[in-house]
Symmetry: C2
Subunit: 139 residues, 2 copies
DNA sequence: CATTATATAGAACAATTGTTCTGATGTCAA
DNA sequence: TTGACATCAGAACAATTGTTCTATATAATG
């Protein structure tokens, strides 16, 4: 089974009159369909209801994520690196090791980043951004 | 528009032979359809592709969440309360205020909870559980 | 050139968290 | 009633984080 098989296909059906009547037909098959049905069964829910929940929550996270990305642009490159590593749960010391700078410098970057983001602590940063489903890539 | 309108309806089409050929038709309309299309446009993606991403990530979170729920059952009621409040970003002191107990007691509960969960810090707890999309209700 | 932004780093101190102990009290089941 | 568990709480100390300073060096921009 190719990867393509696990992607849903969609046919957009649009009524003639207004946009508010638009609707989508999502064709879900393959592995995604299987997992969706299993999860729905485990939750004693119909696949459609579960899909609705997942899509709604996913869209909320998308909004938060987009907002977070905009905030990230306000930071300098170095501050962004520090924030990313912080979001992966690293301590200042570990970050200083990774970036080959002093722990004091990490503290400075963290402080500047938190100021620009209007946050008070790394905990608050992690709360907001992990809630948005943001988990930066490994390197 | 009623709430029902914003829920997708589904018709499960199952082929005659094997389960691996099963597929779903999700009928998405109303507000959910609108937001899905807008978000897809913003990401320069087809609504189907975005839906696929959201469903996949949502299912992963479901798995993590289910696992976390099982872990939560290993904790005493008081430990669960402390964990919940910790996941909402409260400090030990704030929690002690909320539960009308000593900060030292909170520390004890946190320590016991982290031991049972096999974690080393509240940061690790927040990382894992917020990643799973767990955000306990307000009270 | 002067200003601004960026990156670096330290001192000094406060606050929070984590670790290792000890210990008291109450409940519940074997 | 003894043991296991849950709840509560403190001492003492280490580690991490946060706050307020100062300070140097470099690059870009006007």
């Amino acid at each position: 089974m190719s990867i393509r098989d696990s992607l849903p296909t969609a046919r957009v059906e649009q009524s003639n009159s207004s946009d508010s009547d638009e609707h989508l037909l999502l064709h879900v098959n393959g592995d995604l369909c299987t997992r969706l049905c299993l999860a729905a069964e485990a939750r004693d829910q119909t696949p459609a209801a579960l899909a609705s929940d997942l899509l709604q929550r996913g869209l909320e996270q998308e909004t938060l994520r987009a907002h977070s990305e905009l905030l990230l642009d306000k930071l300098t490159p170095r501050e962004q690196e520090v924030v990313r590593l912080t979001l992966r749960g690293l301590t200042n010391y570990q970050i200083s090791d990774r970036l080959v700078i002093s722990p004091e410098t990490v503290k400075t970057h963290v402080r500047h980043a938190l100021e620009k983001l209007g946050m008070r602590s790394k905990t608050e940063l992690r709360m907001r951004w992990l809630e948005a489903g943001i988990l930066p890539a490994n390197p």
